[in-house]
């Protein structure tokens, strides 16, 4: 117990330190000594930059990372599959396709409409996956393969739409690779309420997910309604992913890597895992965004590309270690 608390506290401190670095680094460098003063009492030079650019961007990166990590934790808990995560199962791809279709079909679509549409796309793709993979539901690698094929199909459809309507290509391409660039306070309501509303649901499900790790039969005999649990947990994960995609586009691999790291650090019980997982997700995305900005100034890479450098090798590592083919 104390070990978990220590780990959670250490991760929190690490996130704070990284956040301070994130706020101070950039085209205009804010010295760390001035940072605190700017935040509390205001500063003539840095006020505008900090409050209008850096702070919302930091918050959004942290929240999106946390949401994706939580979604990954839920999906891996339900599917009991170390290779599963919303992006590998094609949910992110479906949500992206829905948003691209919306932005092409209705140019002046209100921004509040994007999360529900992303959500609808996510649900549709989850339904499609469950239908297509109904025979191989219990074989982790097989499910991942179907999910990947589905993702490829969604990506192809997005490419096709972008070819037909090239005017939207610049914004869409940047958005699709997963970027936190240019996000401001107006994007915060797209993600924060979802996370606040769904976090209690995840905590409520945590104990039942622990039971599910013992196997379907044991969980049932211990009083868990397994099918309902699966459905609720998957719906929660899809909602979290949809909200994240609506803000930042499809950022891959956070939902895969963060839960694994969290399990490594804090064991396999879900309730203490949740805060660790949230913090790790936030850490990953904030770090990715930071490096995306400071690696080659003044150019900015999309954060999704930086995450891929970490996530894709990790996925490959998982495959080579995985033994239950």
């Amino acid at each position: 117990m104390t070990r978990r608390l220590t780990i959670t506290a250490a991760l929190g401190l690490a996130l704070l330190a990284l956040a301070a670095w994130h706020l101070s680094a950039g085209a205009v460098s804010i010295p760390l000594t001035e940072l605190w003063q700017t935040l509390t009492r205001g500063h003539a030079d840095y006020d505008f930059i900090l409050w209008n650019y850096r702070l919302p961007r930091l918050l959004i990166a942290a929240l999106v990372g946390a949401a994706l990590a939580l979604a990954g934790l839920l999906v891996q808990g339900v599917v009991r599959n170390p290779l599963a995560s919303p992006d590998i199962l094609g949910v992110s791809g479906g949500a992206s396709l829905a948003v691209v279709a919306l932005s092409i079909g209705w140019r002046q679509a209100p921004v509040a409409l994007i999360p529900p549409v992303a959500l609808a796309g996510g649900f549709a793709s989850l339904g499609l996956l469950l239908w297509l993979a109904r025979a191989v539901w219990h074989r982790p690698a097989a499910l991942a393969l179907i999910g990947i094929a589905l993702s490829a199909l969604f990506a192809a459809a997005i490419d096709f739409l972008l070819t037909l309507y090239p005017l939207e290509i610049n914004a869409a391409l940047l958005w699709l690779t997963g970027s936190v660039w240019g996000r401001n306070w107006s994007h915060l309501p797209l993600i924060l309420p979802w996370l606040l509303a769904l976090l209690p649901v995840a905590c409520y499900l945590a104990y039942q997910l622990d039971l599910l790790t013992l196997g379907d039969d044991t969980a049932t005999s211990l009083g868990t309604r397994v099918d309902r649990l699966r459905l609720v947990a998957l719906l929660t994960a899809v909602a979290l992913t949809g909200a994240a995609v609506a803000v930042c586009g499809a950022i891959g691999f956070v939902g895969l890597v963060a839960p694994h790291m969290a399990r490594f650090l804090a064991g396999h019980r879900h309730l203490p895992l949740i805060p660790v997982c949230l913090l790790l997700g936030a850490l990953l995305l904030v770090a990715a965004d930071l490096f995306a900005r400071i690696l080659m100034p003044p150019l900015e890479l999309p954060a999704g590309i930086v995450i891929a450098f970490l996530g894709a090798p990790y996925f490959i590592f998982l495959i080579t270690r995985y033994r239950h083919w």
Binding site: D159, I305, A308
Partner: protein, 344 residues
């Protein structure tokens, strides 16, 4: 024990019919791609007069010769090369999902090309393009070979596909990063990453054609070995086939063909996945027949897809890769499900 019908060197009646039909279809689609969807007013009669009475002052003739002909030639090279590369990969791994796109070989070559073309690393840009893409494709192929566990005796088909997809994603992200660092023109990036033959010249034909022909010849020569390998690694060994030889030569063929195709057209997706399956449906399982059949069918597919892509947003160009990727991704899903249903 399952009986195995040794493939006869003679063609069956339907296969023979297809071997007559495929070249005819190729000529037809070749002509169609020359005259179809042009900003200039081109028609079949221009093609006819070009053949029988060439006139250097005729605008249509000049357009056909300088713009359309190299494009169609590159399309044929790329299509035949990618299709046969996919066929050899499927034969070597005995995995119906194998293809340059799925295993990340194309995107490895594309990454090498991007690094060379953007000039991020000065000494890479100084090397000849074909060498750079060859190294990129080779490196990617080697990685997926070991990560997929191909060096161990039983190959798990799903494992190698997952490894390939992850590598593919990694290379794609790196390519995107390289191109973003060099140039912020999203439209150009997109066109190139999807695979486009919109502005090729005779220089590209001269670059790709010799290597493609060499690769195709090597693949045809490997046909018998691939037939043996189809029986399984162990039986091939018992029958006196050289497993190491077919793997090394096969890899060389794949890398050569993919590097040549990517150097001129970018990573055009999924051609190597679709065409071998079409080829098997048409002429059967014998690799000695499959290699020429797939080369022809691949050329036809790219010619058709390019003509179609031109018509998508006429008179603007669209990248040919968009058409093949959309077709191929659906086909990939279909194959993946069938593969999983068959495997226990």
């Amino acid at each position: 024990m399952a009986t195995f019908a040794w493939p006869s060197p003679r063609l069956g009646p339907t296969a023979g019919w297809w071997f007559a039909a495929l070249p005819a279809l190729l000529v037809l689609t070749f002509g169609l791609s020359l005259v179809g969807f042009s900003s200039f007013d081109l028609g079949w009669h221009d093609l006819w007069t070009l053949l029988v009475a060439f006139d250097a002052d005729n605008l249509s003739h000049q357009v056909l010769l300088t713009l359309r002909l190299p494009r169609a030639m590159v399309a044929m090279c790329v299509g035949a090369g990618l299709a046969v590369a996919g066929l050899v990969m499927q034969g070597m791994t005995r995995n119906p999902l194998a293809s340059p796109t799925v295993f990340g070989v194309s995107s490895g070559a594309a990454l090498a090309f991007a690094v060379s073309a953007t000039g991020l690393v000065a000494w890479v840009s100084a090397l000849p393009l074909m060498l750079v893409t060859f190294c990129g494709a080779g490196l990617a192929g080697l990685l997926v070979f070991f990560l997929g566990g191909l060096h161990r005796a039983p190959i798990n088909p799903v494992r190698i596909v997952l490894a390939g997809v992850a590598l593919n994603f990694l290379f794609l992200s790196m390519t995107r990063g390289a191109v973003i660092l060099a140039d912020e023109n999203a439209f150009g990036v997109f066109h190139w990453l999807t695979g486009s033959i919109g502005n090729v010249t005779y220089a590209e034909v001269r670059l790709a054609a010799p290597w493609t022909v060499l690769g195709l010849a090597l693949a045809a020569w490997l046909g018998h070995d691939l037939n043996l390998l189809r029986l399984g690694e162990e039986r091939m060994h018992n029958l006196g086939g050289g497993l190491a030889r077919v793997r090394w030569l096969g890899s060389l063929v794949v890398i050569l063909l993919v590097a040549a195709a990517v150097s001129v057209a970018g990573p055009i997706g999924f051609v190597g996945l679709i065409v071998p399956h079409i080829g098997r449906a048409l002429v059967g399982q014998d690799y000695r027949h499959l290699v020429p059949a797939c080369a022809l069918a691949g050329a036809i597919l790219i010619l058709l897809a390019d003509t179609l892509a031109r018509g998508l947003r006429f008179p603007d160009e669209s990248p040919v890769g968009v058409v093949t990727t959309l077709l191929g991704a659906g086909f990939f899903l279909f194959l993946a499900r069938r593969q999983l249903a068959e495997a226990p």
